[in-house]
């Protein structure tokens, strides 16, 4: 399941594996409409200079893959495009068997990377996150799955690498989040009971956070130094869910935001809200790219919470 936010339209789009696409209104979390869509591979595009919004693209996995961009104003439309165009000459284009990343455009197509729909070593393509830099395409994250998930990093002029120690316990595209720190990209990845923080270029690991047994990690996002009050160093924000029994003995899920830096010093800890249900051990959740909203879904509820602003 993938959640994509369109803050300008005040909408959140949820895609499910069997081709169902739902559009939710922010901030109230009311379902506007449900659509049946083709089964596609979602591509999330983070543009340089617009960190609060993201684009949704579809790669059709037909015999001949094609790319389309999703627009959600009114009746959603899928605009077929020849490729995703980035600053400079960079492009992501459909190829016979998947995608091609043309880091330096068509002129230097030899420097391209291939992202196949299926691969005997890493499994089938599940989702893509493309990150635009100040000059061209900065990095592409590719989620693949077979008997385990793996997250691969593609960078210009380098061989694609599998993120070390990530994936064995299941990564979702929703659990992959980015933030900018000047020219660098901070990346947080949730893996069930752990969150890891990396810095690109390179994928150097900065922090590994393990939840306490009573807590469930719902969502996480990188927080660059200086972004939050007196935060001197980079860190992460984590949304934790905890189940408690009410006075009548009914389960209630409480959601809290905790922000801490790479020295594991807690900068902020506060309650976000609660719902009358048990939290799912692995809830589907995402924090909007502008960090204003949290969407949480389990089989029993779907809720939008407002996050505190600084």
């Amino acid at each position: 399941m993938t959640d994509i936010f369109f803050p300008e339209q005040g909408l959140c789009v949820t895609m499910r594996g069997f081709g169902e696409l739902s559009i939710w209104e922010l901030p109230n979390g009311v379902l506007r409409a449900t659509y049946q869509a083709p089964r596609v591979i979602p591509i999330r595009v983070h543009r340089w200079g617009n960190t609060d919004a993201e684009e949704l693209w579809f790669l059709s996995n037909e015999a001949k893959p094609s790319l389309s961009r999703v627009y959600v104003t009114g009746f959603p439309s899928l605009a077929a495009e020849e490729g995703i165009v980035f600053s400079g000459e960079a492009r992501i284009v459909p190829a016979q068997d998947g995608l091609r990343i043309l880091w330096e455009g068509w002129q230097r197509a030899k420097a391209a990377h291939r992202v196949p729909l299926s691969d005997p070593y890493t499994g089938r393509l599940e989702g893509v996150v493309a990150i635009e830099g100040s000059n061209g395409l900065q990095a592409v994250l590719v989620l693949r799955s077979w008997y385990r998930r793996c997250l691969m990093l593609y960078e210009r002029g380098k061989r694609p690498v599998v993120f070390p120690e990530v994936g064995a316990n299941g990564v979702e595209i929703n659990g992959v989040e980015i933030a900018r720190r000047e020219q660098d990209v901070l990346l947080s990845v949730i893996e069930k009971r752990e969150v890891r923080l990396f810095i690109l270029p390179g994928w150097k690991s900065l922090l590994k956070f393990k939840a306490e047994p009573s807590d469930i990690i719902c969502a996480a996002f990188p927080v660059p130094a200086g972004a939050w009050r007196e935060m001197q160093k980079d860190g992460i924000g984590v949304i934790l869910a905890r189940s408690e029994k009410s006075e009548e003995g009914k389960p209630r899920a409480y959601f809290a935001l905790r922000i801490f830096d790479i020295d594991e010093r807690t900068v902020l800890e506060m309650q976000i809200g609660s719902v009358d249900a048990s939290p799912d051990p692995q809830p589907y959740a995402r924090v909007s790219p502008d960090r204003r909203f949290l969407v949480v879904e389990s089989p029993y509820f779907r809720q939008v919470f407002r996050l505190p602003s600084e």
Partner: protein, 319 residues
Amino acid sequence: MAGALLDVVFQESIVLIPQIGKIVSIDPDGKDRISPLMDSPGMVIREKKTSTYEALLLRIGNTLYEVKSEPDGLVLLNELDSSHVRAHIQTGTRVEMRFGFERISASIASLGMVHAHILRVPDPSEPRTFCLLFDSYSPKPTKARLLFLGAPVEATDNPLRADLEVWTRTGCPPIDVQGGVIAVAHKSSIWVGPKESGLLIHLEGLLEGHESAEAIALDEDGKTLACALLSHHGKGLRILRVDIQPWLNGYPPRDPKRAVLAMAELNPRLPSGVPEPDLKRDVHPYRISPQLDRLVAKASGIREGRIFEYFMVADLVWK
């Protein structure tokens, strides 16, 4: 499989009901006539020719037949000439060979046969052909794939415009295309969309929880939809005419019940010698005519301890 319903087709005042084993034709007085159909078609093609005439083509083996009704209810199967056949078989082959052919050819190998129900519209806008692929003609909703196909300009162009997984009845599938809009009964509910968008929006809140959409038809402009909803709590049949434009604009009404423009009552024309059905209990709707003035349903009634099952045509009286 014998008796499985393939489709319901309106040819002027005659209604044709092709099934595996026979074709029933019903004349305006409700009189039915049965012609044998000795094989199971792999492909059923329904093509709207005029607002009152739908062509029905059946592909049996490698031959394509056009099914035509005479004014007296006689049914004729005309083998189409080879050029016509080739054109249609090419369409069929393309469906199997070109569209996600890895998956489909694999399922052909394992399941033996993939059936197709094809809806073609004369509308010049793209896409023009809608092809439902499934394993067998099922009277209950089952998993199928709905392909939207356009006319490729060059042989290398991909004619596939959309490919949706749907859960729908495959015997006389509840699918309609009119005025640039497609409507499908999917998961017992109704979904519509501008056909070029390749997406279907759920008409949420229109049906009661105990109802399923059994027959749907769009008006010629694709602005309103007639639907026959069957209750599974014994509350009978509701036939509604709904303004679907708010959904097609992407802004569904807050109160979907207010989109209902009219409701219809049934005025059945029964074949002679059959007991009258209980309209609340014993009528299962299959198709509404393109002019939204007739409903074809399977009905049953008991007389002298014997159960009679038959197809009937009923006029829709809108109120």
